[in-house]
Subunit: 335 residues, 2 copies
C-alpha cells in the first residue's frame, strides 16, 4: 500500500520557514521558542498531523522509556493481573509496556526477547524460570535490568520476585491432610516448570505423612474442559480418591462443574482444590479452595524494582536479589 509519507519535523519546519531544530525545541521546551513561532508551529503540527518518530531515539542510544514484559499466555488470567500490577507502577512513571507472549516455549521466548531488545527496551520482565543460552547471552549484552517473576526456585539472572511453588503445594497438601483427606490426587497440565514444582511439593507432603502420592499429568493446555476430563479419569483410575489438588484453578473449576453434572457432592464426596485464587473460583458455589497468590503485588514489586534499577547507576545498586512475596492457603468451601 502506498504511503502518504507521514510528516517529519523537517516538514513542519519547512511549513513555518524554520529549521527542524526549532520545531524540536518547541516540542521539548516550548518556552525556548518565541511566542510568534510557537503558534505558527503549533498550527502546522495540527495541520500536517505530525506523529513522533521513535527511530532517532533508538539510534542515538537514548532511553526508550519502554519496558518489555514477557508472559507465557494472554489467555491466562493470572498474567493479566500481573500485567496490571506492573503497569500501575510503570505507566505513571512514563514508561510504555511492550507486551509479548511465548506460549510457554523457551525457544519462542528467545525470539520475543530478541524482538524486544531490537526495540531497545530499557528493561525486561520475564515470567519463565528457564531460558535458552542465547536468551541469557542477549540479555547480558544488552546490559539492561531484568526482573524475573513468579517462581523463586531457581537462581535469578538479576532479580527475582515471586513465591515458592514447592512450598505452597507442600503447605496446601498438608492442610488437606490435616483436614482428614487421605487419597489426594494431584492433577497437572501444560507440563511447565511450575506444574512440576508443585508436584514436587505435593509429593513431599504426602510422603512425609506416609500417604501414597498419585498424580495424573498431561501436556495439554489447561482448560475447564480438561479439568472435567481429568476428574473423570481420576474416578476411573483411583476410585477411592477423596480429594484432588489441581495445578491451577481452571482445572479445578472444570472438575467441580463435572461433579455437579454427575451429582457428586463437593466437598462431601470429593474435595477439589486449585491454585492461584481466580475470580471465578472465588465467586462460584461452592467457593473454590485455592492457594491465593498476590499476582498484582508481584507486578507492582517487579515494576518498582525494574524502574529503580533503570534509574540508578549500576554500581550503587544493592537490592536483595530474591523477594519472596508468599501466598495464602485458602480452603474455601470446596475442601
Amino acid at each position: 500500500m502506498k504511503k502518504n509519507k507521514r510528516s517529519s519535523l523537517q516538514d513542519i519546519a519547512d511549513a513555518v520557514g524554520m529549521t527542524r531544530m526549532t520545531v524540536s525545541r518547541y516540542l521539548k521546551s516550548p518556552t525556548k521558542v518565541s511566542e510568534a513561532t510557537r503558534s505558527k508551529i503549533s498550527e502546522a503540527i495540527e495541520l500536517l498531523g505530525y506523529i513522533p518518530n521513535k527511530a532517532p531515539d533508538l539510534l542515538s542510544n537514548a532511553k526508550s522509556f519502554s519496558i518489555g514484559v514477557l508472559v507465557p499466555s494472554l489467555t491466562n488470567q493470572v498474567f493479566a493481573q500481573v500485567i496490571r500490577g506492573i503497569e500501575e507502577i510503570t505507566e505513571p512513571a512514563g514508561y510504555q509496556t511492550m507486551l509479548a507472549h511465548y506460549g510457554y516455549s523457551p525457544e519462542i521466548e528467545e525470539k520475543r526477547v530478541e524482538y524486544l531488545l531490537s526495540y531497545h527496551v530499557d528493561g525486561l520482565i520475564l515470567s519463565e524460570t528457564t531460558h535458552t543460552e542465547r536468551t541469557r547471552q542477549m540479555i547480558k549484552m544488552a546490559g539492561i535490568p531484568v526482573v524475573e517473576i513468579m517462581d523463586i526456585n531457581h537462581p535469578p539472572i538479576q532479580y527475582l520476585i515471586g513465591f515458592d511453588n514447592i512450598k505452597a503445594a507442600f503447605d496446601m497438601t498438608n492442610a488437606l491432610i490435616d483436614k482428614g483427606y487421605k487419597n489426594i490426587v494431584y492433577l497437572g497440565a501444560r507440563l511447565d516448570m511450575r506444574t512440576k514444582l508443585k508436584l514436587q511439593g505435593y509429593t513431599a507432603a504426602m510422603s512425609k505423612r506416609d500417604l501414597t502420592p498419585r498424580s495424573i499429568m498431561t501436556d495439554k493446555p489447561s482448560s475447564y474442559g480438561l479439568g472435567a476430563k481429568l476428574i473423570v479419569q481420576t474416578l476411573k483410575d483411583y476410585p477411592d480418591t477423596d480429594c484432588i489438588f489441581c495445578t491451577n484453578d481452571d482445572l479445578a473449576i472444570g472438575a467441580i462443574f463435572e461433579c455437579q453434572k454427575r451429582n457428586i457432592a463437593v466437598p462431601q464426596e470429593m474435595a477439589i482444590v486449585g491454585f492461584h485464587g481466580h475470580d471465578v473460583g472465588q465467586s462460584m458455589v461452592p467457593q473454590l479452595a485455592s492457594v491465593i497468590t498476590p499476582r498484582q503485588h508481584i507486578g507492582n514489586l517487579a515494576g518498582e524494582r525494574l524502574l529503580s534499577v533503570i534509574d540508578s547507576k549500576q554500581d550503587e545498586v544493592d537490592y536483595e536479589r530474591v523477594v519472596d512475596v508468599g501466598y495464602k492457603i485458602h480452603l474455601g468451601e470446596s475442601a
Copy 2:
C-alpha cells in the same frame, strides 16, 4: 544503569577487519560473502552477542513487519481470543504484533495509536467504534491500512469486520420472549458503545412485542461480583422478573452463582442469559445461554484483510468495507 553498549554491525566489522557493509551482507545473503570472512563474522557475532537494531529500519521508512493491535482490556477473555485469531494469520506471515490496551477510553486509545505509529507499524487493528478526532487524523496521515473489529454499527475508517450488536440483542430478546419469558431485565455495565447498542436491540424487541423494557445500568467494570450485585438489585427493583439478559457472560455467570447461593433455581425461577459464549459459561452447570460470537474468526479475517491491504498497491484494492460474520443464539440450559 550503565549500559555495556550493545554491539552494532560496526563492532562486528571492526572485530573481523571489514566494513559494516560486509557484515550486513552476511546477515542478509551469506552467499555474497566469501567463505573465509563468513566464518570469521559468524564467530564474532556469536562472541559479541549481536542483537539486531530496529532503528535504521524505522529511519529509512522500510516496512517494519509489525502490526499494531488495540484492545480495550487484557482481562477480557473475548479479546484474548481475537488476538489469537489475528496472530494465527500474521505470525506465519512474519509480522510481529504490537499489543496495547486502552481501558475503553478513546483518549487513552489516542495515546496508544500515537505510540504504535511512532514505531511505524505497517497496519492497525482497532476494537473501538468511537475514536477521537486526532486519532483519525494521525491514522490518515500515517497512510497505513486499518481494520476495525467487533461491532459493525458505524461507518468504518477503512475496513470493518464484526457483527451487529443491535440485531444480536434483538434476536436473543425475541428468542427469550418466544420461550415465554415476559419480564426480562437487561443488565449493563462498563457503559461502552457495545453495551448501549445491545440495550437498543433489547429495547426494540421488547417494545415490538408490547413488553416493558427494563434495565439496570452501571458504569462499573464487569465482574462476577458485579453480576451478583446486579441480580440482587434486580430482585429488589423488579421482583416479578423471570429472566435477565446480561451485556456479557461475566455478569451472567456472577448472577447464576448468586442464584445458587440463594437457592433460586435457574432457569425455573430465573432465566439468565449472557453474551459472547465464554468457556466458563459453556462448561458450567447449568450451561449458560448466550449469544455465541466468532471471536477467533473475526481475528482471522481481520489479520487476513490487513495483510492483503498492506501487500497491495493502494489502487488495486477493492474489498467490501464491512464484513458481517454473524453470531449464534444459544439458549443452553440457563434459559
